[in-house]
Symmetry: C2
Subunit: 234 residues, 2 copies
């Protein structure tokens, strides 16, 4: 008889998030709990994946904030996406490595994911990883639309909505306050703006009683209004 894995509040957030993407078997849970125990910690500002390096195994984000970014030769930085607990950092085949790196922003913890071929019994886990990849792609699309067609105010609001969504479990209560440990300069490099302009934009949102930001957390005071705001400039 199989041991039933009771996955409650004690289960790491990252694992609960993964399990929302596909039906996980007990084997999957056992494997994940085990992986979580032998997790690898990485310090802020350290690279998880160095630019130009190939990586054999995919990684699962267990804790903290990391980001994928690239630099122009003259020093401009663009943050491509954030990697939050439950996100998968795909393996990179040899020969496709670019000048793009993944860096820890806070303290983070990751663990290697099994190779699909080597662990055929973890089918649910592989499904979840595949699901995570398509979800990831959707967020890349959204980031492109944000940078290409939204103005500064809309970009900040749309991005905050995404960050909130990505930190919520499907069965969570409607919580409008969520962790947001970034500096304004980091936000600027994400949204294709300058730190100064991000600052002024956040002030405008504060004055409009839409958003509260500070000391590591953000609050969407009026999420419905925020959603309406995005894409309705005219």
């Amino acid at each position: 008889m199989q041991k039933v894995v009771h996955h409650d509040k004690a289960t790491p957030f990252a694992i609960r998030r993964l399990s929302a993407l596909a039906r996980l078997s007990n084997e999957d849970f056992v494997w994940l709990e085990e992986a979580a125990r032998r997790r690898q910690r990485i310090l802020p500002k350290c690279d998880v994946v160095e630019a130009g390096a190939a990586t054999r195994a995919a990684l699962l984000m267990l804790e903290g904030w990391a980001y994928r970014s690239c630099m122009t030769p003259d020093g401009r930085r663009q943050i491509i996406q954030f990697l939050l607990p439950g996100d998968v950092i795909p393996a990179l085949p040899e020969g496709l490595t670019q000048h793009i790196s993944v860096t820890a922003f806070t303290h983070i913890a990751v663990c290697a994911l099994p190779d699909p071929a080597s662990l055929p019994e973890c089918d649910g886990l592989m499904k979840a990883v595949a699901m995570s990849a398509t979800l990831d792609t959707r967020y890349l699309y959204r980031q492109i639309a944000r940078l290409g067609r939204l103005d500064a105010l809309e970009r900040v609001v749309d991005w905050l909505l995404e960050i909130r969504e990505r930190q919520k479990l499907p069965d969570d209560f409607h919580d409008n306050t969520f962790p947001m440990p970034l500096t304004q300069e980091t936000i600027a490099d994400t949204l294709g703006l300058t730190a100064v302009h991000v600052n002024r934009t956040l002030q405008a949102l504060r004055r409009a009683d839409l958003v509260q930001i500070g000391r590591g957390t953000a609050t969407l005071i009026d999420p419905e209004q925020c959603e309406l705001l995005v894409g309705h400039r005219r």
Copy 2:
């Protein structure tokens, strides 16, 4: 004894492009040639994937130009990426469908790709499809960096370099003239600019003897100079 598939100039460009991504077996080639014969044609401005629709099978682009795009509620359009011959349009799982669609720009031809489970003998093909997906992701990263951190001139140049690269086979001679059937408005919606500004930017590039654009083709007169230009604003 297996029939040896001689893949020469007569082989469709899309198939040669796929075969550059992974070593394809004769079974793979046979399957692809067969698929190319029962290809599906789609007219310009028609949707390949409608917004909000799930698709069971991945599609392979065989001919023409298509694009993935989304609209803001007030009518701004952002083109997320172009889909060229040899590109794979991944299947979309139920429940993850967003307001994002794939539309034919020119006449295009596509064919459905086999489900990995149903065609275990086409291993090389599946590898190529996976490779195509990671390559695709790199181009999404590049598009994000382009929109977030490059100015109008750099965006146009960097984008032209990408479009040239994606239409070249690895073993092609260095050819600086390539098909580019888009209108300036379409380019604008890709690069997050207005059609007017794209027009002026193209003129600047023409005046600088860097780029020639017209009647469905583009020419990079000085590709080395173009590469140097991107990311060196300071």
